[in-house]
């Protein structure tokens, strides 16, 4: 069973993933594929319902860089945990394209990878664990030191060292 954690809380998923469906439902919040979005853009916007987009790991987000305002959710897929492309996509969406709404990690999302995903800008996760919230909290607390700056704004070791020198 998979559960959805958003902003550190267990939540009901309001969206239905129809990215594999042949026919789009008339009502309800849905997550569509890039192909569905590109083929049915006007109809999807005319539905007037919350819309999400799912990108496969071989679909770069620059394809939708100018459409981001239309999406309440963007789900980036990890088809295998070792396919790391979505880490780059997440940072591009957050930092370069300014996408500020839900960024969801879906597919093979392993607990060991959570802190990397958080740092790259994901705020929602599909978790498969008997105790999803407990597992999430433990994994998110694995590390308290970071060497690299990302859009999450956590201070890096270098920044903290420099602050300390300035204070002294």
């Amino acid at each position: 069973m998979k559960a959805l954690i958003r902003d550190g809380a267990l939540v009901e998923d309001a969206f239905v993933d129809v990215s594999d469906a042949d026919v789009l439902p008339e009502t309800g919040a849905i997550i569509v594929s890039l192909e569905q979005w590109q083929a049915n853009r006007d109809a999807l916007l005319a539905r007037g319902e919350p819309l999400g987009l799912k990108l496969r790991s071989d679909q770069m987000p620059d394809a939708v860089a100018s459409d981001l305002e239309h999406f309440e959710v963007i789900a980036l897929e990890f088809p295998k945990f070792r396919d790391g492309r979505a880490y780059s996509y997440a940072r591009l969406l957050r930092e370069r394209y300014g996408y500020a709404k839900e960024l969801r990690a879906v597919g093979e999302v392993l607990l060991e990878q959570l802190h990397f995903m958080l740092r790259c800008g994901f705020d929602a996760f599909e978790i498969r664990d008997p105790d999803p919230l407990g597992a999430y909290r433990a994994a998110a607390a694995d590390y308290t030191v970071w060497y690299q700056p990302t859009g999450d704004g956590r201070p890096t070791a270098m920044q903290l060292r420099r602050q300390r020198v300035q204070r002294a």
Partner: protein, 557 residues
């Protein structure tokens, strides 16, 4: 040397705590071997033919006596009393128990050493010139940038799941001892007309089954931009690198598939677009702060003591040979660089016992400001020895079989662990290396042959870097039998080249004869002042083909 501060210590402690939990879950069967594999690999733990192997990073080859003593302690306590130095300036232990690994990691952390990212599809140990900071020909100290790159690459949130492993090497000297042209990223320092130091950035070099020399992606990069530019190279690789075939996943493949011009365009676009956004900027005062860790040791003001050394050498020819071959000029007058050969006749290249490690740590304390280096040719270095101490150092090294006067000579072979240990190997590389070094023991003969590198790999993954050996030896498996293919003309220095295949594979017992035949032909053909490589580049492969196969057709597989 760099010293950890509270941040570095805390990160390593958190990493070990995490791995301890992961090992516990694995031993309890809560995660499968398939799920555990990438976790253990990123902590340097391999499952080899007979046991777990632990690969420990020696960051850019710089080692303190305290760290070397810890390596000795681990060899004695957790392994079979020895370790193996590799071509990536690392040390490997071949007989490790998985349940003991977290304890070993804690022992290592106490001397500021880790195994983080010594394996896995991520940025590996940053490697460099073993003579950094002491070489006469150095423009600037590469260790400063190696340390900045080390910190930058540790647990990178975006680049911990790259398509494949990623190796970075830095040289601060025009004479490249770090083999930067055969790395995923090679950094070569230059000085511009204004006297500023910057980097030439190379990308897409590598060995393995598809060897390539790197292309220059940037002629000049300011040091402040180093990490941000590396980030753009990594991002383009992470996005575009092939993930459909493990054998085509290294950056060299995508660089050559897209072409260096297209790859450069993508990197430059990303580099320009990331300006002003979160990216690893490198303020000059931060570079200076790190440079402070690599300040020269408190040298004494000394004169070169050439006359005394000549006197000692005249009285003791073996000391003279060692002085000639294993001692390298130092940039500080009165000092010398001592190369410690781990290539005694018949030895396993790179292997060293716990006793020898302890002895070397003592020598480093007594004669080299407590510091050592590991070079990528599987030898060790005492970087700061007073010339007046050279005789004492030699006297201490000699009975330990650590003073074989063969640096950069034929018997200074490089070899991977091969089928004696490695799960990937097709052939046993160590016996071949030992046979050759046992055949070429006469120091006068080795000296007469001159500089000649031999690199042995037990399979096409090329951990022994056979493509860049002057003579490369590649073990292959043909219908269940081991054969060895020879290549000639490889080099990993500033004029890097990949070796040319000599001909059909040879049986193990015929390899030493083939090396003899090649060497004899070279000695016939060489002109005044030529090294083997010079002669080979002048005359080409045909005379050597004839020397090996002309007279030995019946032995050919």
């Amino acid at each position: 040397m760099y010293r950890y501060d509270e941040f570095d210590h805390r990160l390593v402690a958190e990493r070990i705590a995490q791995f301890r939990r992961q090992v516990k879950r694995r031993l309890a069967g809560e995660i499968t071997e398939d799920q555990f594999k990438p976790l253990r690999l990123k902590n340097g733990v391999y499952l080899q033919l007979h046991a777990y192997m632990l690969r420990v990073n020696v960051p850019y080859g710089t080692l303190s006596s305290r760290q070397l003593r810890k390596f000795a302690h681990i060899a004695r306590t957790y392994d079979r009393g020895f370790g193996h130095f590799t071509t990536r300036q690392n040390i490997q232990y071949n007989w490790i128990q998985l349940e003991q690994v977290p304890d070993i990691l804690e022992e290592l952390a106490s001397v500021e050493i880790t195994t983080i990212q010594s394996s896995g599809n991520c940025v590996r140990n940053i490697t460099s010139d073993q003579y950094a900071g002491v070489a006469r020909d150095e423009l600037a100290d590469p260790r400063v940038y190696c340390e900045l790159l080390r910190q930058y690459s540790v647990l990178h949130p975006e680049f911990s799941y790259l398509p494949r492993k990623f190796k970075i090497a830095v040289t601060g000297s025009p004479n490249d001892r770090a083999a930067v042209a055969v790395h995923d990223i090679g950094l070569r320092m230059h000085r511009n007309a204004a006297g500023e130091t910057g980097f030439e950035v190379l990308v897409g070099g590598g060995l393995g089954r598809t060897p390539y020399l790197a292309h220059t992606i940037r002629d000049w990069l300011a040091p402040e931009d180093l990490l941000a530019y590396v980030e753009s190279i990594l991002r383009i690789y992470n996005i575009y690198g092939r993930r459909d075939n493990i054998h085509k996943a290294r950056i060299k493949i995508i660089v050559n598939q897209l072409g260096i011009d297209r790859y450069r365009e993508l990197v430059e676009e990303d580099f320009a677009a990331s300006k002003g956004l979160p990216r690893p900027e490198l303020p000059p005062d931060e570079i200076e702060r790190i440079a402070g860790y690599f300040a020269p040791p408190p040298y004494e003001t000394l004169e070169d003591c050439t006359a005394e050394l000549e006197k000692l050498a005249a009285a003791e020819p073996r000391f003279a040979e060692w002085l000639r071959h294993n001692v390298t000029p130092h940039k500080q007058s009165g000092y010398a660089i001592v190369n410690v050969s781990l290539k005694a006749p018949g030895a396993v290249p790179g292997d060293i016992t716990a006793e020898c490690m302890d002895a070397l740590a003592d020598l480093a304390d007594a004669y080299s400001f407590g510091e050592l280096r590991v070079n990528h040719r599987q030898n060790l270095v005492l970087p700061y020895v007073r010339q007046s101490d050279l005789y004492a150092v030699w006297t201490a090294l000699d009975p330990l079989a650590l003073a074989t006067p063969n640096l950069n000579l034929l018997s200074d072979l490089i070899s991977c662990p091969g089928l004696d240990y490695c799960a990937l190997a097709n052939a046993r590389s160590i016996p071949v290396a030992r046979d050759i070094s046992a055949r070429f023991v006469n120091v006068d003969r080795l000296a007469a042959i001159g500089p000649l590198t031999i690199n042995v790999s037990g399979c096409m993954n090329a951990c022994g870097h056979h493509h860049v050996g002057n003579i490369g030896i590649l073990g292959v498996d043909k219908r269940g039998k081991e054969f060895f293919q020879l290549t000639l003309g490889g080099s990993s220095d500033q004029n890097a080249s990949l070796g040319d295949r000599l001909g059909p594979g040879l049986a193990q017992q015929d390899v030493p004869d083939a090396i003899e035949a090649i060497v004899d032909r070279y000695l016939e053909l060489r002109e005044e002042g030529e090294r083997f490589l010079d002669t080979y580049r002048r005359v080409g492969i045909e005379p050597f083909k004839e020397a090996v196969y002309g007279s030995a057709q019946e032995k050919v597989a």
